[in-house]
Amino acid sequence: MKLKYPSLTQIPFKFDNFKKRDFDSFFQGENKDLLYFLNTMIKTKSNNSIYIWGPQGTGKTHLLQAACKKANEMDWHVTYIPLEQYRDFSIDILDGLGKLDLVCIDDLEFIIDNIEWQQRVTLLFNEIRDNKNSIIISSKISPNNIKIDLDDLKSRLVWGHVFKIKAADDELKIKILKKEANERSFNLNDDVVEFLIRRSNRDLTSLIEILDEIDRSSLAAKRKITVPFVKELIS
């Protein structure tokens, strides 16, 4: 996406990073079984390993963070490890995590070229299983197709439960976008939201990024959010 209006000099408040995500705010669409499963696992404090995969913008991070929140409410000790950010850190960050009740690992595909991390995650898997704790892993790629060189890890990925997370259809995307806009204190008219769905890359993460940009630019340019304005912005 090319941005028409350069970013403001002031560091923008990235709304999405601070949003508290929970299960209730997840539009389940066709993911009823997955949601039910996650909820039940945490509510009943049972242990399991879960692998969730699906394309960008289907809500994987939302679910992982919601699981952390819920688990914490149940007095579980949890942590969230987004590998995109942390794979450059020392693998020591994973030490002792097998003793936590739940570990959520986001973006597993970011360690496909990193055997050291793969070994450490394998070990973490063993620790978690031995301690009867739980792990939730997310990835854009299915456990069979992910290019994990270490078979020890690869076979462990399918051990527990594997869920494909299904993308929202257009109708649901419209609903979600309107809600996201409301949370940012502006309204999206039907024509604008339909235009967005039709005209841009349609995965939700991208759509929400555009929403943030619309928010910023319309304030900066002091313009109303109309189809021509949005068109100008994302063309």
């Binding site: 990235k14 990073n17 601070f18 949003k19 508290k20 079984d33 039910y36 499963f37 995969w53 394309p55 913008g57 963070q65 952390c68 929140k69 914490n72 000790h77 949890v78 942590t79 969230y80 490890i81 987004p82 950010q85 942390y86 020392s90 020591d92 960050i93 030490d95 002792g96 003793k99 936590l100 959520c104 070994q119 070990l123 063993n126 620790e127 031995d130 301690n131 009867k132 790629i141 299915s142 456990p143 069979n144 197709n145 078979d151 020890d152 690869k154 076979s155 462990r156 399918v158 051990w159 527990g160 439960h161 594997v162 869920f163 494909k164 039709r198 005209r199 841009s200 890359n201 349609r202």
Partner: protein, 451 residues
């Protein structure tokens, strides 16, 4: 719920930090509040350092602010987990795997002194042609540790039961002689314990502990590769145990000779005893495994169901277990009986787990082949029905299966306008309801593309 200073502090922090920061660094903390002081336990050094550099002073500030008299609250930050005292004691006394020294009392797991998992016994092991030899050798060893086969080296691919046999040996040997000292650990843990022993000047204690064992079970020794110092130490431990006629059992994902990064003298030593291989299980064994695992979850399966699962998931037992878990979970969710049809539905995702990207090019190619026309026709200006219908279906499928925008789809189909794509999508939707032929074509094509 009662609000404590820490809870108040948490609420503040949650608002100040991003969700990610909060989830990664704050949520894993174990907190002990006592007599106005707060003790924070981080799961490891890394988290401890991170918190102490970035968040500790703020935490201190928030805690003091929430104190009724704004008094300074004493905050300490250490590495540890629940009931850390018990664990420190264990670690100080003996060098053994801390992997399973879960000290939480509400979920007792296993005999804490040897790390053996109680569900891995010979009784629970399903025998088949593929693992017969390995099982027989393991039973022999457990009956007569330090005797005939020393070391016993079990090799085979992942998820075939190596670890299970190892634990079973441990249990059986213990049953025979409850006083014997048995330890199971992963080779990485041996390395980690050794490193920590070196750091804390306790290497002699480390040696003494390992050399005093009657049965030492070390899993996945391929993880020793390239760790020279650990190999050296292990070599000596190995010799000492062997000389004292103590039993060693090792597992590896390949034959000792094939492990690269392993010293030759170790490779040759590993071959001194007996090396047995486990092969992937054949169908009958897989069926038996599925049945046994189902029974463990108090579920009985019809023959056609267990055969179906065993036939479809063949590469390793973890995969088999995963599939079975899914079926049982779905049955619990829906309350439906587990029939063959139900099983197929429950495993639909796993069976077509390929997520090869559906591309526009692929959609065009597959659609053209299906209707026996050329891709060039799809992209051409031709408007006879034998071409337009496939083109509309292809555009419609592209809209449904990819994330491309409508103008992009129009472009990819010979530079058509995005309104043409909308029209095609609508048209196909209508036709699918009225003409079963169109619906069938659409479903066949989508299945071909996603399977």
């Amino acid at each position: 719920m009662e609000t404590t200073p820490w809870k108040h502090c948490l609420e503040q922090l949650e608002g100040e930090l991003s969700t990610q920061q909060f989830d990664t660094w704050i949520r894993p903390l174990h907190v002990i509040e006592k007599n106005g002081s707060v003790r924070l336990l981080a799961p490891n050094r890394f988290v401890q350092d991170w918190i102490s550099e970035r968040y500790l002073s703020r935490i201190q500030e928030l805690l003091s602010n929430s104190h009724p008299n704004k008094e300074k609250v004493l905050v300490s930050l250490d590495v540890g987990s629940r009931e850390p005292k018990t664990e420190n004691k264990v670690r100080a006394q003996e060098f053994k795997s801390t992997i399973s020294n879960k000290t939480s009392t509400d979920r007792p797991v296993k005999n804490s002194s040897n790390n053996l998992n109680s569900s891995f016994t010979f009784k629970a092991f399903v025998e088949g042609n593929s693992n017969q030899l390995a099982r027989a050798a393991s039973i022999q060893v457990s009956e007569n540790p330090g005797g005939a086969y020393n070391p016993l080296f079990i090799c085979g691919g992942v998820g075939l039961g190596k670890t299970h046999l190892m634990h079973a040996i441990g249990w059986q040997a213990m049953e025979k002689d409850p006083s014997s000292k048995i330890a199971y650990l992963h080779s990485e843990r041996f390395v980690a314990d050794m490193v920590s022993a070196l750091q804390h000047n306790k290497i002699n204690q480390f040696k003494r502990y390992y050399r005093s064992l009657n049965v030492l079970l070390i899993d996945d020794i391929q993880f020793f590769a390239k760790k020279e110092r650990s190999q050296e130490e292990f070599f000596h431990t190995f010799n000492a145990l062997l000389e004292g006629q103590h039993q060693i059992v090792l597992t590896c994902d390949r034959y000792p000779k094939e492990v690269s990064g392993l010293e030759d003298r170790l490779k040759s030593r590993f071959g001194w005893g007996l090396t047995v291989a486990i092969e992937p299980p054949e169908l009958e064994t897989r069926v038996a495994i599925v049945r046994k695992k189902a029974l463990q979850s108090n579920t009985s399966l019809a023959d056609d169901v267990s055969f179906f699962i065993a036939e479809r998931f063949r590469s390793n037992i973890r995969e088999l277990e995963g599939a079975l878990n899914r079926v049982i979970a779905n049955a619990n969710l829906t309350g439906e009986p587990i029939t063959l049809d139900f099983t197929k539905r429950a495993l639909r995702d796993l069976l077509k787990i390929q997520d090869k990207q559906v591309t526009i090019e692929n959609i065009q190619k597959v659609t053209a082949e299906y209707y026996k026309i050329r891709v060039a026709d799809l992209l051409s200006k031709k408007r006879n029905r034998s071409i337009t219908r496939p083109r509309q279906i292809a555009m419609s499928i592209t809209k449904d299966l990819t994330n491309h925008s409508l103008p992009e789809i129009g472009d990819a189909f010979g530079g058509r306008d995005h309104t043409t794509v909308i029209h095609a999508h609508r048209k196909i939707k209508e036709l699918r309801e009225t003409e079963s032929r169109v619906d069938e074509d659409y479903i066949n094509l989508s299945n071909t593309l996603t399977n």
